[in-house]
């Protein structure tokens, strides 16, 4: 016989669920269903959706390519300053996105520490470009990959790597054929979280990459601008993003939290 849930817990749970579900339900209620198609067919919306997908996928790939090796080094190598490095790597998660954007400007902007040199030496400007949007999105989402991957690597029994080493495998071969296959679920979960974060990225993007339709105006930026002129349109576009995100999260259910 199942024990009844205590009433306070039930009430708190219901309020918690409502808190989260209500905005989504409200979006559906307030959406301009009559002209939904027109809004989405507009140049602005199409460009924003295309950019959002392009930027978020590119940011995810970049986060994985850079984040997994970083996580590997953090998990398996001991060196001075490792805990400091780990704290810095995780920092973008707690940093307000606009602050992250300001940091990126200071580093890679036209007057930035590295950006200034890139501009003078190669004429490369990262601000106001799609690459800039990708950089901003990668900056805030890579920590999620690093956290998930490092947890995966740490959780791996070292004997597998030891066995591989004694059998004559190089560290690279061991990583490729033993470690990565065994940590694939955790890496995948990290990649999905990174993608979700990159998709919703606003503060760092608008600060570092600017806002231009077709080049840097991802859906969050488009929604922000729409709010001033056409609130209904903003709701419609927001709803599209919500639907895409929910679809992916549902598809990944069970894989993100609590392992396989």
């Amino acid at each position: 016989m199942r024990r009844r849930l205590p009433l306070p817990i039930l009430v708190a749970a219901i309020i918690g669920a409502a808190f989260v579900v209500l905005p989504v339900v409200a979006l559906v209620a307030r959406a301009p269903w009559g002209r939904f198609g027109d809004v989405l067919a507009g140049d602005g919306a199409r460009a924003a959706l295309r950019l959002s997908l392009e930027v978020s996928l590119a940011a995810t790939v970049l986060s994985v390519l850079l984040g997994v090796p970083l996580a590997w080094v953090l998990a398996r190598r001991e060196f001075r300053g490792r805990s400091v490095l780990r704290a810095l790597v995780v920092l973008p998660i707690v940093l307000p996105p606009v602050v992250a954007g300001v940091g990126l400007l200071a580093a890679l902007g036209r007057q930035g520490v590295v950006g200034g040199w890139l501009d003078r030496a190669f004429g490369i400007q990262l601000t106001f470009s799609t690459s800039g949007a990708i950089i901003a999105a990668t900056f805030v989402s890579m920590p999620l990959v690093v956290l998930a991957a490092e947890a995966g690597f740490r959780g791996l029994d070292p004997r597998f790597e030891q066995a591989a080493g004694v059998l004559g495998a190089s560290p690279a071969y061991t990583l490729r054929r033993v470690v990565l296959p065994m940590t694939a679920p955790q890496l995948a979960a990290g990649a999905v979280l990174a993608w979700a974060r990159a998709l919703g990225e606003f503060g760092a993007t608008i600060t570092f990459a600017g806002n231009l339709q077709g080049r840097t105006q991802t859906v969050p930026l488009a929604v922000f601008q729409q709010l001033q002129t056409d609130r209904g349109g903003a709701v419609a576009l927001s709803l599209v993003l919500v639907v895409i995100s929910v679809a992916v999260l549902v598809a990944m259910r069970g894989h993100i939290m609590g392992g396989r």
């Binding site: 004997r159 030891q162 080493g165 004694v166 059998l167 004559g168 296959p181 065994m182 694939a184």
Partner: protein, 361 residues
Amino acid sequence: MGLDAAVRVTRGTHVLDVTFAVDDGETVALVGRNGAGKTTVLEAIAGLVPLEAGHIELGGRRIDALDVGQRGIGLAFQDGALFPRMSVRENVAFAARARGDRVGPARARADRLLAQLAPTVAPAARPPQLSGGERQRVSLARVLASEPRLLLLDEPLAAVDASARPELRAVLRDALAAFSGPRILVTHDPVEAMTLADRLVLLEDGRITQTGTPAEVRNHPATRYAADLVGVNLFEGTLEPAGPGAGTLRTDEGDLTVAWPDGLEVVSTSNVRATVAPAEITLHAASPEGSSRNAFHGKVLEVAVTGSRARVRVDTAPPLVAEVTTGSVERMGLAPGAEVWASCKAVEVRLMVPGSEPDTL
């Protein structure tokens, strides 16, 4: 040429300091209690743990400065450590593929080894689907496939159920015999040690306390642990003659009446060891009559039944292990806490006098 190892490693408060050698074609069982340092010895030889001091030579060549993968060593882990995300065949072919061999020949060779060592295992199966015994067989195949010059086996039967052990033991014995280099087997199980090894090396608290063939150790266990290992009652104390051919062995845990052939001159000697085989200890419900000369009263501590025989430990002074039939166990109601008398004849106590020819008096 074989293996010549001097290993010193400190782990926390435990210091491991051992020196030993293993010939080509020889199987040495490194035996000790859990925590004695046996696995550390293997890890040091394999290069997974750095040597504080010492050297490791294999086939006349120093290997202790070499990288883990370059030493030519095969190490089979306790539960196999098979890579779960690849098939059994790919596991066995791993070493060959890692050094660049082509897929086809590597897999073909793997299949041959598997057919020989684990015929009931499908090469396409995945490790999580295998039983403990099957995993050990595949692990052995994987190690042998890497063509090592030295075989290290860490507790090969520990992760296998008791019913599967005899068969696996046979497989191991054949595989070891077929391997031309030196082989070290680490175990805490006396049966494994006695049946698979040519020579035993006993490790206690990081130090070697005895080496010898199973027979040598059985006949002359040097420490209490060695005696427990081979299942013999061991005593150590001072021998005091009491008359011609008779005397007392005074130990810290109790006294034994002993005897020796008339005519042999014996003086009071310390550090004398004596053994009594468990089968020579008889148990009685009441104080025994007769000329046994050694009779002790105590409570049963433990009864361990193997087949039709049972080993009974009693907390007499000195403590004894007796071997009786299971019938006797039932008849006398031998269970922990039961009161019992244990006796043996004075002549059944085999004395080992230090420095003398290691045979009994």
